[in-house]
């Protein structure tokens, strides 16, 4: 009898690639909240977010063998699969007006995190606060392009058209924003608060 709770995410993904449903179930228990939250936030619709979450885990089930441990931590891969699927859904919906309100991401950067009980949740709360702080430190123009791209699913060329800016300017803003976020978050990792 396999004790899935004792296995790390990498081992669970490997077992999932091998067709072990128990391993996928454990991955679901660990990551469904983060994936559903992202889907719910980006899609703005409970039922569509549920559908998206289900499709994300089916993708994980089918694509687990393509995960490469040397290319990054498992959680980054799982969230990358989730984000990609949600973006696909948004683009398939042709970006309804409700899903492209540029005001919401501003509140995301400024919103205080709600406190939660367990030790693991406390750690997640800290991480969330850290990412929000890093977002808040970005210049407004850079924060805007990151939010439109990552949370609203617009491509760089669509952002350029929407903001009436040259495509090169948008690409530069995305690049600078990502560099700053990475530097900020890596710095925080090496120097804990």
């Amino acid at each position: 009898m396999v004790e899935y709770q004792g296995l790390d995410d990498r081992q669970l993904i490997e077992r999932t690639a091998w067709g072990d449903k128990g391993a996928l179930e454990e991955l679901y228990d660990r990551h469904s909240t983060a994936i559903f939250s992202l889907a719910r936030y980006m899609l703005r619709h409970e039922a569509v977010a549920e559908e998206a979450t289900q499709e994300v885990f089916i993708n994980i089930w089918l694509r687990a063998s393509s995960y490469r441990p040397e290319r990054g931590e498992p959680r980054a891969w799982l969230m990358s699969v989730a984000h990609h699927k949600v973006i696909d859904i948004i683009r398939a919906q042709k970006r309804t007006a409700a899903a492209s309100d540029p005001e919401d991401y501003e509140t995301l950067a400024a919103m205080p995190s709600k406190d939660r009980g367990t030790e693991e949740e406390a750690h997640l709360n800290m991480e969330r606060a850290r990412v929000r702080q890093a977002l808040a430190k970005l210049p407004e123009a850079q924060r805007e392009v990151i939010a439109l791209a990552y949370f609203r699913g617009l491509s760089q060329s669509e952002i350029a058209a929407r903001l009436n800016q040259p495509l090169g300017t948008v690409k530069t803003r995305v690049r600078l924003a990502m560099q700053k976020l990475r530097a900020e978050l890596e710095e925080d990792v090496t120097e804990p608060i």
Partner: protein, 306 residues
């Protein structure tokens, strides 16, 4: 249409961050993915960006998924495609069905009746001939008995010689297999392009180890394992190559009493075309019992980056 500057050996540097956050147009995305297939440097950079990008997802306020969604999701998982096996059915000839219902059955019945009548007549003639043959047969049987007795004496002597021959052939065949493996190992170890793939234990037994030496652009590979549980005679370990969730049996591996085993792999495609390699063993001693994943390794696309 994008300027395809990286068709000439450059890197799509201004697209990698956008790719990491899924912010490219489909055409750009396809171009980047094509480039990534052959560029380890850009793959590394994308991985770094993706590692940073996923943290953005953590900024979202957590909201638990409805409890019903878990059961629904697990029930919706598609069945994995089984190991591809040859379709033997296509070798079975199909019986012609044309017109059978309309006229073939009555005609067959008439023919059968005619045959039955003629066979009764023939049977009476054959019976008398058989009586004559029986008496001749008793004479021949007596002569045959003597010949059989003599033959048995010769067979006993021959059997001893054959047993010795089989034993020596078995020893020779085992030695030839060992020599082939040693020759492959020597070649792969000495060749500068040989790449090692380390197989990690899939469970908690960290002592079990394996390594695959891959040479000749992935066409040739030798698996070596150590510290394994000895495989029972009829229940060896199985080696699987997995591509897009479909597994292909690459060979069966026997582990000796010292926990050591080797296997030459000759897959249908170069090893680096596959996603992962796995070593399994059936739980218990029956071959139809569930498999247990023992060792596993992801296979980097295009081989290891040096």
């Amino acid at each position: 249409m994008l300027p395809s500057r990286f068709d000439y050996g450059g890197h799509p540097e201004d697209l990698l961050e956008g790719y990491a956050i899924d912010a490219l147009d489909p055409e750009e995305e396809n171009q980047v993915e094509t480039h990534l297939e052959s560029c380890a440097e850009c793959r590394d950079r994308v991985n770094e960006w993706q590692s940073a990008a996923y943290l953005l997802a953590l900024a979202v306020e957590p909201q638990e998924a409805p409890a019903r969604l878990k059961a629904r999701t697990l029930a919706a998982l598609p069945t994995r495609q089984p190991v591809a096996r040859p379709d033997y059915r296509r070798f079975v000839p199909r019986l012609p069905a044309w017109g059978l219902r309309k006229w073939a059955l009555p005609v067959a019945a008439a023919v059968l009746l005619a045959l039955l009548g003629s066979s009764m007549f023939l049977n009476m003639r054959i019976s008398s001939q058989v009586d004559q043959m029986v008496s001749q047969n008793s004479t021949v049987t007596a002569q045959l008995g003597q010949a059989i007795a003599q033959n048995e004496r010769l067979a006993t002597a021959n059997s001893g010689l054959q047993n010795r021959l089989v034993e020596s052939e078995g020893m020779g065949s085992g030695m030839m297999n060992d020599i082939r493996k040693i020759r492959t190992l020597s070649f792969l170890t000495a060749h500068p392009d040989t790449q090692p793939l380390v197989m990690r234990p899939a469970g908690r037994n960290d002592e079990q180890q394996g390594v695959i030496l891959v040479g000749d652009g992935g066409q040739q590979a030798l698996l070596m394992v150590t510290n394994m549980v000895e495989s029972a005679g009829t229940n060896p370990y199985q080696v699987w190559l997995v591509k897009d969730g479909i597994r292909e049996l690459a060979g069966q591996l026997k582990v000796d009493a010292t926990g050591w085993g080797t296997l030459n792999l000759t897959p249908e495609q170069p090893v680096f075309k596959y996603d992962s390699v796995n070593l399994t063993m059936a739980e218990g001693n029956a071959s139809n019992n569930p498999e247990r994943l023992v060792l596993t390794s992801n296979i980097p696309a295009g081989g290891l980056v040096r």
